[in-house]
Symmetry: C2
Subunit: 331 residues, 2 copies
Amino acid sequence: MAGMKALTKATIYEVARRAGVSIATVSRALRDSELVTEETRARVRAAADELHFMPSRLGRSLAEGRHAANGIVFPDLVGPYYAEVVLGYEATAAELGSSVLILATHGRRDTVAAVQDLAGRVDGMAIMQQTVDDGVVAKIAAVGLPLVLIARPPVAGVDTIRTRNERTAAALADHLLAHGHRRFVFLGDPAGAPDVQGRYTGVRKTEPTVVRCGLDLDSGRAAAQAVLADPPDAIICANDEVALGVHLAAEQAGLSIPGDVAVTGWDDLLAARFAGLTTAGQPMRSLGATAARWLHERIQDPGRAPRRRVLDTQLVIRRSCGTHPPEVRQP
Amino acid sequence: MAGMKALTKATIYEVARRAGVSIATVSRALRDSELVTEETRARVRAAADELHFMPSRLGRSLAEGRHAANGIVFPDLVGPYYAEVVLGYEATAAELGSSVLILATHGRRDTVAAVQDLAGRVDGMAIMQQTVDDGVVAKIAAVGLPLVLIARPPVAGVDTIRTRNERTAAALADHLLAHGHRRFVFLGDPAGAPDVQGRYTGVRKTEPTVVRCGLDLDSGRAAAQAVLADPPDAIICANDEVALGVHLAAEQAGLSIPGDVAVTGWDDLLAARFAGLTTAGQPMRSLGATAARWLHERIQDPGRAPRRRVLDTQLVIRRSCGTHPPEVRQP
DNA sequence: CTGAAAGCGCTAACAT
DNA sequence: ATGTTAGCGCTTTCAG
């Protein structure tokens, strides 16, 4: 029996006393400094183990003047899209030695307060989409907190990384027109998320009727029910979830896709593949990873010039956009 | 012109000087203490704004003796499963006033160190599945750090929350047997994740041939290619991703589901719906939410008795398990 | 209602 | 190689 288990967290002082050394030595020994004898290190380690010592990151961070943690703010985690971005971010941040704090703003009343609290806990943060408005972004940037924006219009002096919407959407429009479709509906809100704006702009040449709807499956399904009463040739959806909702509504209405109506989405979710949905793939993982890397670089060198990048997206043609001759690939 | 913008982070001292008060008053004013005149509060607020003051959570946490942050450790974020759990966790934690730190262990070499670092940053943490072994869990629990285990066998004295696998899997087995299937293959690793173990145990009555494979789409597809050379009546997959991989392999092999072979999954991912996959739904969101709530309660009252709970899962019968008479529901 | 001062747990000079 | 000591930024008695 080596005594009772510690019921309270031990500090570096207890360890020092137990090992018969100073706190400085404990600090050094535990962080593998070269300035400690192997023998001392062993004694310190033993003492630390016996006391179940677990250093507090608070003390360390305060002393070092850095959190060794980054944050990421996103609207929500529903839908694989955000999860992928966050994962890419986490993986890269971890590799670069930072913990990551997440903040989902969806359904939160006090977003601004939450974001500011987060700002006080990290060395830098990534902000996705319109989770906070430009004023807040500017304010945070003004204190000198490194920032990187994801899928959001640039703000002066702040790094921004996005994916290509407009050009790929235009290619999608061309493809649909080539199918012979003429009457189009755009399902989504062109005045909403910037990504959606870009997609809308890209397909504008099809002169679609706009039907506003949210970006989730149920919104898509509900909106589709009305649209399908008098089906257009093709329904261009703001994202895959909406398009999948349309699938569900079409099925219920006894309409076949693409026989009675063509449908397209955006994101190339896993489900899109099984629904045979024509869509556009985004490099979501890279989006997060790049954000984490840029943030790291900016933290290292706050003075560097702001960067902007647009990652490429790719059209994925499946069967929902119309019948293809057999030689066309249908992955 | 009110002077140059602060290029460096302001501290409470600068604010105090500027407002002509003490740091104690600044602290009180900014946190809406009752002990401050409205007039003083206004002066402090103004000074803070002018300096772009953003309080450091480090100082506060150190002084208060709490992080106001919780952690969650999970293997990965691929597949909607983990994302949903994390989202449920974050939402509830935020509601209860805690920030959340995430740690994905997948592909990390120094998992133990990462988890211990995390332990030093939070008031408590949730640990999913076998991300760290029991020894580490016990060690962390020993320091008195509140813990809750998710989808993992209980450890003495630690709260645990899981979902029902065995019983629902048994029901699935019954359903498959009722279809008349006789030759079964189980695709997954019964010696792997505890969840998979439970599912295997539940379907054991079908006397399946076990074919080990990972839990992702590609593993499932690869494993299926071999299995489909001589198709059994039904392939019971450890999760939906594997099952979807089987779908892909079957399609490529020119086999129809369920005509040539029946297939089942587990998780009821969005894609499962569109693939017509028979599966079992898990309350992933609740899993995370409950973990966050329990953690909060344990932090409040470290002495309370450990709890265990098993959340229910539900069979979702679709068409992949075999042809049903029309009156059977096929959602 | 406000201020002075003592920490919170740790790191990093600076001594020795 | 090890110890002393001064902070890091904030909250919180304790006085006034």
